[in-house]
C-alpha cells in the first residue's frame, strides 16, 4: 500500500465544504479510509487539527476530530510518529536549510526520514523545501 506524509491542512480542508481544497482532501481521506493509502503523520498533526477546530468552532467538535483520528490510528490507517531527539535535531537542520517555520520543519523532516511524498496545500512549504517530493493527487 502506498504511503504518504500528511500535513494538518489536509485534514482541516476536508472539514470545510467551501474550501478550495475540499474535494481533493476528502478524496484523499476516502482513499486512506479504504486502505488504498496509508497516512504517516507527525504527532503534532492531530494536535494542530483539534486546536484549529477548538479555536474556531468549539471544544466538542475538536474532541470529535481527536476521537475519529484516534480510531484511524487504531485501525492502522494512520501511523503517528513521536517527536524525539533525532527528529528534533533533523527538523532544526531542515528548518535552517530551507528557512521553514518550526512546525513546517517537523512535517518536512518526517517526509525526508520516511522517504515518502508529502501532501500539503501550503505553498510556502512547497516552494521552500526543494528536496521534498510532493504528493500529486
Amino acid at each position: 500500500m502506498k504511503g504518504v506524509v500528511v500535513d494538518s491542512n489536509v485534514f482541516i480542508a476536508s472539514l470545510i465544504e467551501n474550501d478550495v481544497f475540499y474535494e481533493v482532501s476528502i478524496n484523499f481521506i476516502e482513499k486512506m479510509d479504504k486502505e488504498e493509502l496509508t497516512f504517516h503523520i507527525s504527532m503534532i498533526v492531530p494536535i494542530e487539527v483539534s486546536c484549529a477546530i477548538a479555536r474556531r468552532i468549539g471544544a466538542k467538535e475538536a474532541d470529535e476530530s481527536e476521537e475519529i483520528i484516534h480510531n484511524w490510528i487504531k485501525e492502522k490507517k494512520v501511523v503517528v510518529y513521536k517527536l524525539n531527539e533525532k527528529r528534533m535535531s533533523e527538523s532544526q537542520n531542515y528548518g535552517t536549510k530551507y528557512k521553514l517555520k518550526g512546525m513546517d520543519a517537523i512535517i518536512v523532516q518526517l517526509a525526508f526520514e520516511l522517504n515518502l511524498p508529502l501532501m500539503t496545500f501550503d505553498n510556502e512549504i512547497i516552494e521552500r523545501a526543494k528536496g521534498v517530493q510532493f504528493f500529486k493527487s
Binding site: 500535513d7 494538518s8 491542512n9 489536509v10 482541516i12 480542508a13 476536508s14 472539514l15 470545510i16 465544504e17 467551501n18 474550501d19 478550495v20 481544497f21 482532501s25 476528502i26 481521506i29 476516502e30 479510509d33 494542530e48 486546536c51 484549529a52 477546530i53 479555536r55 474556531r56 468552532i57 468549539g58 467538535e61 470529535e64 476530530s65 476521537e67 475519529i68 480510531n71 484511524w72 485501525e75 490507517k77 517555520k101 518550526g102 512546525m103 513546517d104 496545500f121 501550503d122 505553498n123 510556502e124
Partner: protein, 78 residues
C-alpha cells in the same frame, strides 16, 4: 421479525434490507450487546462517516474568511 439460522461457528447472516438500512457492509464493525431478553446488534458508525458528519458541523460555523491553509499558518505563527 425475521428468523435467522445460526451456523456451526455461531454465524448469522443479517437480512439485506437491514444491512442496507443501517449501512452494514462487509468489513463493517457492529457492537454485540447482551440485553435482558437477548442480544442486541448495533452498527458502529465508520470513521469516515463520523468525519463527514463532523464536516457538516464544522462547515456551518467555520469563518468564511479563513481557508484551511490560513488557519494552520495562523496557528503556527501566532
Amino acid at each position: 421479525m425475521t428468523k435467522l439460522k445460526v451456523g456451526p461457528k455461531g454465524q448469522i447472516t443479517l437480512i439485506k434490507k437491514l444491512r442496507d438500512k443501517y449501512g452494514i457492509e462487509p468489513g463493517s464493525l457492529v457492537d454485540e450487546i447482551e440485553v435482558d431478553d437477548g442480544i442486541l446488534i448495533k452498527p458502529i458508525e465508520s470513521s469516515l462517516k463520523s468525519w463527514k458528519n463532523l464536516k457538516e458541523k464544522v462547515s456551518k460555523k467555520w469563518p468564511s474568511d479563513t481557508s484551511s491553509i490560513q488557519a494552520i499558518q495562523e496557528d503556527r505563527t501566532k
